[in-house]
Symmetry: C2
Subunit: 346 residues, 2 copies
């Protein structure tokens, strides 16, 4: 479409700084005839302290009117653990049915990895975003007593599993290697494991060109550090996806460059794009944060909205920038953003 | 005690080969006056195919009479996924209340790691072994239909969490660095997370010398590859422990050297010791398996039974052997066992 009506949520800590650069690069890459409108929303710790609110029905109504959402980071040590995570981040994922949590991992030339021997890393994790152990089901009895029992219920539905498995197959089909790995723990979590494995095998029949494999989540962490090149597309449950995508980010250049999309492929609600990193309050306001992950999240956003050429321009600019960074002097958040804006415009 | 009555379960695949070497080293290290009795049990795929049984009440009665259990590996592609895992391995852990699943990770000199720069790695994971998502609670409705719902229930009790947290604090207290890290996901799994965090903080007051920290499981996987030296003792839930100990094994020399103990500290039931690796049917019977992980599991077994000096002799022998391996010709399973037996006896 020839206009983008974007909701911008800078959030906490370094969120504002990285989002500023993300928007700078977005403006620079868009052709003249694509109209960009942005509206900023003040969610996060400040608003929580001021009003006690994290995300109201009115907020959701307002956000719903945008084409997409760009988020910096949410979270601050002044807020009890879990309040903003569940009250804002997860609430938004569930309210807007962001069932495809897309997290690409690509080790770009010149980027440092903790792994020896600079392996080839280029895969995408499709993490389910609206089910599994993330639903808040469960409870506590006899809280605070020696007889307390606390449960967490992982909820998995045929509807929820099939739609994300299907999305992952389609993504695998569209990539040169056409390989899809299901990561689960079906030898122990047999109820959910059966549903995931069965669905995976059934949908696989519709994608005869896609090579499939199954790997237990514990073994997957081994392969991510010893043979990351074996992965092309991975589909997995919400919690396993949370865990392996942090590891994937660590081995493919760190969370400074890891982008993510919380996607509703139907378009019924706007999708949200954000760096994998958190709000990093320790370095906030110092111009030290690397905006690359946010800029790459903008690329995911553009591709989601159908602006593929612009998404590719951003990704190419980031690759070129990272390749040149090696050994160079440390640059500020704004300097990196400026350099990327120049590259995508040029 | 001056005698050890050991149950030996070679199991499937390479299990027999590695257990033979483990017993070789055990016999070599024990002083003359410690009487070693062993009894072999034929659990695993062969027995399952012959009788349909994995672990009967009579089996449990027989195993109960031993001081400890040494296991090679259980699992074979001819048996449907989950049958032996749940029918034997998990059944035994639950029946014998093996609530402390001990998994040390130490990167020994000369051992290859997938991480760059040969970091310092020397920590122990205390994984809860009898609760969490491993209890088999949950179920399926409308199986095989488009309306299937499958649940997995993580069960966490004050009793179960406190005893393992206490065990971990005692282990941290006994180590030079005296540091304990709780790994969980308390910002999302708030019911279980609250019980774990609360219990951890309460027990911490009894161990003022122990430095404590909390890390989310997703972030823990990042630290395991970027700063593994930050860990001393980790205590965590059954599933998180499963996942991070495979990653820990991978970064600290691979599953060829990763040992584990399924421990019942009360002694009410015998504890079980086993290499972290599986039955590796692809290399079974070829004398290619590395018995080191089994030999190190024998060291854990000896320490558990109070034979500390002998446990240390084995660990030192393994260190010396690994340091000399670098660049040497590949040795067979038996050759490695022979070399270690000579070292511990010498
Ligand atoms: C902050 C937290 C709720 C979130 C998650 O667990 O999904 C984060 O770790 C992520 O991966 O986006
Ligand atoms: C085989 C399986 C049941 C087991 C587990 O999940 O505990 C294994 O992965 C382990 O870590 O011992």
């Amino acid at each position: 479409s020839r206009s983008i009506n974007l909701a911008v949520i800078p959030g906490d800590g370094i969120g504002q700084e990285v989002v500023t650069e993300g928007l700078k690069v977005l403006s620079a890459v868009l052709p003249q005839d694509v109209k960009l409108e942005t509206q900023e929303y003040d969610f996060g710790a400040r608003r929580y302290h001021a009003t006690g609110e994290t995300l109201t029905d009115a907020d959701l109504d307002a956000l719903k009117r945008h084409d997409a959402i760009l988020l910096g980071a949410i979270g601050d040590p002044s807020v009890p653990s879990g309040v903003l995570e569940r009250g804002f981040l997860l609430k938004l994922r569930f309210a807007f049915d962001h069932h495809v949590n897309l997290r690409p991992s690509k080790l770009l030339p010149g980027v440092a990895t903790p792994l020896a021997g600079q392996p080839e890393i280029d895969f995408v994790v499709v993490r389910e975003g609206t089910e599994g152990p993330y639903t808040g089901n469960g409870g506590t009895i006899r809280k605070g007593t020696p007889h307390e029992v606390a449960t967490e219920v992982s909820v998995n539905t045929a509807f929820g599993v099939e739609r994300v498995v299907r999305d992952a197959f389609a993504r695998a089909q569209a990539r040169p290697r056409k390989k899809l790995t299901l990561v689960h723990k079906n030898n122990v979590l047999a109820f959910a494991g059966h549903l995931w494995t069965d669905t995976f095998n059934r949908v696989a029949e519709e994608f005869p060109e896609v090579t499939t494999e199954y790997i237990h989540v514990d073994a997957a962490t081994i392969y991510l550090v010893t043979q990351p090149e074996r992965f092309d597309v991975i589909v997995t449950d919400n919690l396993f996806g949370d865990i392996i995508t942090d590891l994937a980010a660590a081995v493919s250049g760190g969370i400074g460059v890891a982008a993510s999309g919380n996607i509703n492929p139907s378009g019924a609600y706007p999708s949200m794009f954000e760096p994998v990193h958190g709000s990093a309050p320790d370095i906030a306001g110092q111009g030290k944060a690397d905006p690359t992950a946010t800029v790459l999240s903008v690329a995911l956003l553009l591709r989601h909205l159908g602006h593929d050429a612009e998404a590719t321009r951003i990704e190419d600019a980031v690759s070129a920038d990272l390749a040149e960074r090696t050994g160079g002097p440390a640059r500020s958040t704004a300097e990196i953003g400026d350099a990327l804006a120049v590259r995508v415009a040029g």
